[in-house]
Chain length 360, copies 2
């Protein structure tokens, strides 16, 4: 491996994550070797152009990296086996739970564990298997890198390079911190989606006709593979169960508040949800993009706002948000256009050119 | 009103739903009159081109239809008032809860209630207010029509015509049936999203970096207006609270099963979610589209699947689903391409032209 590029990588396990990683590595120009006990999956991955089947004979030179993408229940075993088969290669995995796998590797391969650095790309789909794989599913996503105290620095660097080569950005956490985090941002939402979707099983068909986009979004991930999710959740049982108890009592409390018709408390609970969802970072982990609001005065005529959008859009300025200012004392026709900081000059020029009044 | 087209409609309340309805009616060629106590909202709706402000003087002729889009807490009052002000017009509303509003109208306008038919377009957004309004938000969505026993047939027909004019398809239910249905497909998902998002409020910022698309989808609607949702949930408290208790005990049971590590039961619960989500109807309420699966044999060479997709796509055939058949006894390289029934001849012709083997 030179200048951050992989020459040869072995991917063990050609499910959704393994095959997607292989496709992304292949796209970067690496030679990708593929291995899977499931001959059907392997054949599909090869058919997709993800790489070539690994013969089983020791490659020369050894891979720059071995990536293990197998189900949680066998993850530690397969990683330990890879450390033994390839005595100089760094080994990572792309599994969803990190502490349990690390404990297995420490037990099974105590002398080689320093070449192991766990990782977890925060991408995926309710689908599974190599047919759902795509080279671009990691683009702009976080990729957790979970070194343990004995991980070698060069192995950590190689795994961070894997994340970047696949288009993701590396986020470093300890294995147990990672497991706490995914319990919250992945495993509990998965169970909540399943529980809400489960309520639909006994509903009258006519009632389901009223389903809109909201419930579709809330329940989409409930279509995930139950066998895989049973393994993921079981491997992270303690943090997930703790949060599920918390969510259950929050729901229970909400129901009781509703029965007692206490609007203030209902509103507080709903506002708490809004606060939570606004904490989710933007693309590429950006905390908050920097916008400027420009207040524009509208005349009291039909079609004014449509005309404003046309004038601004025609100048190539992208409006990120639009708000009415309802503060007392501000004119009724005041609209706030939020744009990226660097689009402000173009916006002001377009407004002036078309005769709009910028307020204040 | 002739040949199913509206000449003149009054829309009372220019929030998200009222303004979107007005925009869709305007698009159909109707004259749309707008009324709102909030002068700012009214001005924005007029600016967007949704209609013209109603002077307050009785229009001549009376509107073909009055559409009320105001918050649940005042809905019954505003509908009853409209029935009194316009003694021959049918009146509907686009509110989220139907039985409570009907009870208010029956009490306040007992002699005019036969001109009232409630309705509820199953469209919306986590946003609110006229700035988020669009003429096309109803396209292909269900629009619940909720007549009561005394509703006049011609009033029901006019409201169903409103749904169709706005691009939606009408679904008729009784008011209480509607409220049971939306408790399940809208209100409980809303609370579940809020509860999951609420757990994020106390999370470490580094943990939130791992958020992927799953939690974003599950929690998106939690960004909705807490004040509006407090009113909606309060107006439908009994059915919602019952289902929330059920969801809370499902979550609790899931947590206990996880703590006891009972994989069979975990899997059953997750499978139940998958069954539920697959019950949601497709676009335009279609229960299940009719596909045919064509089994194609792949050669064991890199790039075979990519070549297959290119050959099929090049022939203009749209693949709806792709599956590998893993049944014992079937060849390893067998891929099932699912296409719309009417695309089967074109698919078979394309496969033959490019030398693919259709199996069995």
């Amino acid at each position: 491996m030179s200048e951050g590029l992989f020459r040869r990588v072995l991917v063990i396990g050609t499910g959704l994550m393994g095959t997607s990683t292989a496709l992304a590595l292949h796209r970067s120009g690496a030679e990708v070797l593929l291995e899977d006990l499931d001959a059907g999956n392997l054949r599909v991955a090869v058919s997709l152009g993800a790489g070539t089947p690994f013969s089983g004979a020791s490659p020369d030179p050894e891979p720059d990296l071995v990536v293990v993408g197998v189900p949680p229940a066998v993850l530690g075993n397969v990683v330990a086996d890879a450390l033994e088969r390839f005595p100089t290669s760094p080994v990572t995995d792309v599994g969803s739970v990190k502490a349990a796998a690390l404990a297995d590797v420490e037990r099974l391969a105590p002398d080689a564990v320093e070449r192991y650095v766990g990782s977890h790309p925060m991408a995926g789909s309710e689908q599974s298997g190599p047919l759902a794989a795509r080279a671009d599913i990691f683009d702009g996503r976080a990729w957790a890198i979970t070194p343990h105290p004995r991980s070698r620095d060069d192995a950590i660097a190689v795994v961070e390079q894997l994340a970047r080569t696949c288009g993701a950005f590396p986020v470093r956490l300890s294995p147990s911190e990672h497991d706490e985090a995914v319990a919250l941002v992945s495993h509990v939402p998965q169970v909540a989606a399943s529980v809400v979707a489960g309520l639909l099983t006994t509903a009258a068909e006519g009632h389901l006709m009223l389903a809109g986009q909201g419930i579709r979004d809330v329940t989409r991930i409930a279509a995930g593979d139950p066998k895989l999710w049973t393994q993921i959740l079981s491997a992270n049982a303690t943090p997930v169960a703790r949060l599920l108890h918390e969510a259950a009592s929050d729901l229970q409390r909400f129901a009781l508040t509703l029965e007692k018709l206490e609007p203030e408390e209902l509103r507080d609970a709903l506002e708490r949800g809004g606060t939570g969802v606004r904490r989710l970072p933007g693309k590429h982990g950006a905390r908050q993009e920097s916008f400027t609001s420009i207040p524009v005065l509208l005349q009291d005529q039909p079609g004014e706002l449509a005309r404003l959008f046309a004038d601004v859009g025609g100048a190539g300025v992208n409006i990120e948000d639009v708000r009415m200012d309802h503060s007392p004392g501000t004119p009724a026709g005041l609209v706030e256009l939020a744009v990226h900081d660097d689009a402000v000059p173009a916006l002001l020029a377009a407004l002036e050119r078309h005769g709009w009044t910028v307020h204040g």
